[in-house]
Symmetry: C2
Subunit: 225 residues, 2 copies
DNA sequence: TCAAAAGTGTTAACTGTACACCCATGC
DNA sequence: GCATGGGTGTACAGTTAACACTTTTGA
């Protein structure tokens, strides 16, 4: 039996939220034909790891974070997507908290940078397509699952949460209604703390309560924007 | 540069709807260690085709249908998922109309059969996991996109549509309310025809209008259950 | 006339949306 | 006092959910 074999990589679309903007991490390649051009951080799949492990490894290498939201996006397999050798890539998308940014540049790379997700330069191969698909997925998921919290620090104000939704979905929302909607879900726990260092009335800080979410989900609760 | 290479297959979860039941197509393997056991229809990825082309090929081989709803589900890459050699598989899920069933058995298979999706035998490798994931995806998608129509014949009654939703979601629905909800979307076009051969009042037959759906979608319409 | 499903009507409860408003704080 | 955001109230429109009801048809 002949079993055709294929070169396989993983590429990560790593989203972050900072300054009220949704950002994505891109790296400048330092080797091969694509030297000097921007792309998504990725690597080969090693023989004894899962795709998820490879993606986690790339994420850890570049941002220093682990145990973060990471999910398979799609396998891209156009035979011509990569010049020269055929390479199939499995793309992942990851969400990191803005307070956990500690970028580091990979061995074969020249630079790494957070850029506004709607103002990216042209990327190598089909990476723009991958990014577009990841953004569409994020926009969809954020409405149906409480994954947005992965982009915020542990404690956050309701307006920060609203700004996150506005940045991800590229819309504007009504403050009183957004606030009520969120509060009614009982997923946010008020902390004793308040915002500090602001020149206006300090807002209450909230935490997202994963345990409550799981309980509610078991009872049939469905998260919707 | 060393590039580790990997054996890659596609496996299809092919859903059909018949007798008011949601079914899935499984095949009995005729070769190798898994001879005599049931699994999902799949094949190797060939060197010059995309994963989607490979999945379409498998679908065409087994059911004789082409141009059908087919979408990537997930890549499964546990190093131990397949005994012996490491094989990574990319799973797809497909929806076929019940009036298009013309099963044929692949060269290396002994049998092919539609089984109720909630009464499947034990499947080889991680195929039960794949099926579970496909079903979850179907349940989710059917609520947010009008893909359910891919499981019905060209013309159908409102009750058939309702029964489809009930089978997929494993719930029961209120007839008057379901009917109004669907009609209000303006996606169904009434045909001149009526059901025939039934011993009760014949229901009107409807078609799903893809063109209207696309127009509405551009105007911001969102399909929900 | 009965069974089965087609199809309509009505109501009360709940949600979404828009927007007016007051509160607290630092400069 | 003013700008900025925090936070509450309200009221109308629209939607959902439950279910009672009439109609049509073949056997």
């Amino acid at each position: 039996m002949d079993t055709p074999k294929h070169a396989l990589t993983v590429d990560n679309v790593i989203f972050g939220f900072d300054d009220g903007e949704l950002k994505v991490l891109i790296v400048k390649h330092g080797e091969g034909e694509s030297r000097g051009r921007w792309g998504l951080p990725g690597d080969w799949l090693y023989p004894d790891e899962t795709l998820e492990q490879a993606a986690s490894r790339v994420l850890l290498d570049r941002t220093g974070v682990r145990d973060i939201f990471l999910e398979q996006l799609h396998a891209f397999s156009e035979p011509q997507r990569h010049p020269g050798e055929r390479i199939i890539t499995v793309a992942f998308f990851a969400l990191v908290r803005s307070d956990a940014h500690a970028l580091s540049v990979g061995k074969t790379e020249l630079d790494a940078r957070w850029v506004n997700v709607r103002e990216t330069p042209e990327l190598i191969f089909d990476h723009n397509t991958i990014l577009t698909k990841a953004l569409a997925r994020l926009k969809h998921k954020v409405r149906h699952e409480p994954i947005g919290f992965n982009l915020l620090p542990e404690k956050f104000t309701l307006l920060e949460l609203q700004r996150l939704y506005e940045a991800v979905l590229d819309i504007s929302l009504d403050k009183p209604n957004f606030r009520r909607k969120m509060m009614k879900m009982n997923l946010l726990v008020s902390t004793d703390e308040k915002q500090s260092g602001v020149s206006y009335r300090a807002a209450n800080l909230y935490r997202f309560d994963l345990r409550v979410y799981k309980e509610l989900t078991e009872q049939g609760f469905v998260f919707e924007v």
